[in-house]
Amino acid sequence: MFLERVPKTSNKFEKMTSDSRFVASALQPDTKPDMTKHTQLATLKFTFLSLLLTVLCSISFAQDIPADPAAISAGESLFNANCKTCHRVHQKLIGPALADVYNRAPSIDWIKSFIKNSAGLIASGDAYAVNLYNEYNKTQMTAFSGLKDEQIMQILAYVQAETIKGPPVAAAPVAAAGGSGDAGSGIPSSYLNAIVAGLVLILVLLVVILGFLVSALKRFLDQKDLSAEDKELVHSPITSNSILKSAGFSFIVIFFVVALGFKALINGLFSIGVQQGYAPKQPIAFSHQIHAGQYEIQCQYCHTGVTKGKSATIPSVNVCMNCHNQIKEGALYGTAELSKIQAAYDNNTPIQWVRIHNLPDLAYFNHAQHVNVGGIECQTCHGPIQEMEVVRQHSLLTMGWCIDCHRKTDVNSKGNAYYDKLVELHNKSSKSAMKVEDIGGLECAKCHY
């Protein structure tokens, strides 16, 4: 309902009453009954009457609107189903904010007819309706001819209840508290480290104190006359020094050092050319955890190329703007990061994201084949992407990793006529399900050419 501004016509009478000329002439004794005075008085009477009428009307508007909770809740669901797309009670959206609309609009009947057929009302030349239409960039409100009068009254009941409640208090601090509450459920790692360090310190102190106690006891016992047996017990031949110098001890130490060193060496050699764990800083701190995790936006909404070709594609700025034309403040960084998208959009410059998965040029990989035909989930290779604040390379992307999957995975042949004869042939010679390797998934030239 486009009822933002009270048009001039209905304001006229109020202005006239506040004009001092009329008041003054009304107070003057009626000595000279001339025409002008008559007309003035007539206008004054009319003004008062119409003012009274509008006041009465506005009261009766509000009185017409039901206030019982049943009507309000029915109105709420009707409002959410029909109006919420363009209207809010306290916020101007596509259409005006609806708070207090029942007092602003010419009449309740006017509201009803506007909701049912705004185009007709505008075409009939209704000043208020035409005004609204022009004010909101000539956006036509949809005709809700299906709404009954009582349903409109229920919607108004909801609007009235919300108007009385007043605009909602900013919910940001509540949300922030909720966010930190999640992190607070586990003990922060810095605390854990401090606790561990404290415990280690206490243990070391205990060892030192025990050492002092042992040496003091020894000195005390040495002063006493002891039998040879007891002396041997006090001054044992197996001291910590003798253990450290023994062949067995040095063997164990050298064995562990060499074994661990060798393992680190092998690991290091195998990590050459493998970028698993690579998590570069991006020009905009984009969180997959919020987009894919919290808001459950499908991967393909942004990575549209994944079903169409080799590359999954990185979304261009207009895809970001589909939501961020309106959502200007992020949960983590406020406006700092989101303003970069707006800047890129305004200046028509692409955002230069850092590529994370760098498959060597010597190998060919096609997303569409794996997603469309294989029906493989994104997470199979990319890991729990919906939990990643910063995306990291989850898989090895080595040849061994590819081959391993091609050996283990059954071909997704269900409902795909292309595979029918292959499956038939395979089942003649084998009892196990057809794997990718059975149809040439290990051929060199499948990926290297």
């Binding site: 959410n80 189903a81 029909n82 919420k84 797309t85 916020q91 959206l93 596509i94 956006t139 809700f144 299906g146 709404l147 050298i254 050092v257 060499v258 060193g261 060798f262 680190a264 060496l265 690991n267 290091g268 050699l269 990590s271 050459i272 050319g273 493998v274 970028q275 698993q276 764990g277 690579y278 998590a279 570069p280 919290q294 808001y295 459950e296 936006i297 499908q298 393909q300 909404y301 549209t304 590359s311 594609t313 990185i314 207009n318 895809v319 589909n322 939501c323 034309n325 309106q326 959502i327 200046n347 410059t349 692409p350 994201w353 590529r355 760098n358 060597p360 040029d361 010597l362 390379q393």
Partner: protein, 211 residues
């Protein structure tokens, strides 16, 4: 002493090699890097530094660039950014595999589109199923699984349409197609994300949802 020496060498080597693995901003060490970097244009992998990889070979390339450089020198864009993507030649139009031309009814002609356009895809169960998958991918996070405008994103993004509301119940498939392509009201254009066929399939599925 020999044992001690070999232990030290072993540990030292492992520490050095540990620096080869990737993590954070470190991409790790590449093995045979001249087999990793494409000489041809590749999506999302252009190397704009003409000196990159000069240490690898002594080959003198004609225009003086080094081994890894593969940026599109013809398209140093007006924005000062190298781009491998080219703008199509002037006065040409792309056709898809069905021979369809791009959709050209302008955004403000919604009524015309709603009245005139007919859905070229059939109403088979297969199309509806495909439309459902597409709807779940491109629409559900705002418009909700049942089209009631209650997707997760609608909590943040005000003004998501309830497709089952009276305002939308009787819209034509042409209307839906036009709005997906060009946007309407608070919804921005989604034409760049889907092919025309896919948009028509979604239109089919939305009509099924609205029943």
């Amino acid at each position: 002493m020999n044992i001690v020496k070999s232990v030290i060498v072993c540990l030292g080597a492992s520490v050095v090699l540990a620096a080869c693995s990737a993590g954070g901003n470190n991409q790790g060490t590449e093995y045979a890097p001249n087999m990793y970097h494409s000489v041809a244009y590749e999506p999302y992998s252009q190397i704009t530094d003409p000196g990159a990889g000069r240490w690898l070979t002594s080959i003198e390339y004609e225009d003086g660039h080094a081994e890894f450089f593969n940026s599109n020198t013809l398209n140093v864009s007006t924005m000062g950014v190298f781009m491998n993507m080219r703008t199509p030649p002037a006065n040409t139009v792309p056709r898809n595999k069905n021979g369809w031309l791009p959709y050209r009814i302008p955004k403000d002609s919604l009524e015309l589109a709603a009245k005139r356009l007919k859905n070229p895809v059939d109403s088979s169960a297969q199309v509806i199923a495909q439309g459902k998958v597409l709807y779940q991918t491109y629409c559900q996070h705002c418009h909700g699984a049942k089209g009631e405008g209650d997707g997760k994103v609608s909590e943040k993004y005000a003004g998501v349409a309830n497709l089952k509301g009276d305002a939308y119940k009787n819209i034509t498939e042409g209307h839906i197609f036009h709005v997906i392509t060009n946007g309407k009201g608070l919804m921005w254009a989604h034409g760049s994300q889907m092919s025309a066929e896919e948009r028509w399939m979604i239109a089919k599925y939305v009509k099924v949802l609205q029943k």
